[in-house]
Amino acid sequence: MAMETCFRAWALHAPAGSKDRLLVGNLVLPSKRALAPLSVGRVATRRPRHVCQSKNAVDEVVVADEKNWDGLVMACETPVLVEFWAPWCGPCRMIAPVIDELAKDYAGKITCCKVNTDDSPNVASTYGIRSIPTVLIFKGGEKKESVIGAVPKSTLTTLIDKYIGSS
């Protein structure tokens, strides 16, 4: 409607011949544009953009939720560390960098996940999460241990070492 109104108004006030000029203008090509010269300095070999990692190791914390929980945590062959957090939980802000470090330190040996309890309340309720932050460790799809509160990194490394050693 608005476009029709605009067009009608334009048609009423357009000077004679302007329509033709507009159409002709669309057909004019920039024939004098110079072609870009080939770059002589371009290097012959370039480093491949994607470097293949032999183990496909993930070195960052993965967001787990109710949709990907089974595939990410329950079916995972390596032990899985899961941090349950909430946006306005102060201690969660302290422990988050620790989990990030652990994901890098143990890349390939464990998977580190985090669950936002506001977004995935059913997962949190299923595992009896009450206090936040809580860190769970799973092995073979089974919850093995839980750690409550913002604990030092050494507490978590001790826990992890306990489960990557045994097989």
Binding site: W88, C89, G90, P91, M94, R130
Partner: protein, 152 residues
């Protein structure tokens, strides 16, 4: 216990024409913006209420804010959000199956029962002097809170 007063926030000052005659888009956009501004103002008020409560309670209970004041700021923001949405400052460092029921029960309304009885605050909002994470402050400014909580 801090008294919780429910305040009504509306767009009272915004004239709203009947939908049948309203021009498409403009009034609705203004209304949405006004509502957002209203919500922000309301939350700011709750943040200020919870900030004052926290300072007062820290002094009264001889506890101190965390050496890392962003922890303090985040918890206060969480309490303010719950005050806005639930009517009471429910502890933001717990997971609940039914928040409304928890508010009614009151156990985890800040200051929670463990804090009142044993000075145990797992949020690290109120820390006893012997706690490893305790700082020296019993004050935190509104600006500190806004700065610490605006990034997320």
């Amino acid at each position: 216990m801090t008294s919780t007063v429910t305040t009504t926030v509306g767009c009272g000052g915004l004239p709203v024409r009947p939908l049948s005659t309203a021009t498409r888009g403009r009034p609705r956009r203004c209304a949405v913006r006004a509502q957002a501004a209203g919500a922000d103002a309301s939350n700011d008020k709750s943040v200020e209420v919870m900030r004052k409560f926290s300072e007062q309670y820290a002094r009264r209970s001889n506890t101190f804010f965390c050496a890392d004041k962003t922890v303090t700021a985040v918890v206060i923001k969480g309490l303010a959000d719950h005050r806005d949405t639930l009517g009471a400052p429910l502890c933001p460092c717990r997971h609940y199956d039914d928040k409304a029921a928890e508010v009614a029960q009151g156990f985890w309304n800040c200051p929670c029962v463990p804090m009142r009885e044993r000075k145990e605050c797992h949020c690290m909002l109120f820390l006893t002097p012997d706690n490893d994470f305790a700082g020296k402050d019993q004050v935190i400014s509104f600006e500190e809170i806004k700065e610490a909580t605006s990034k997320f």
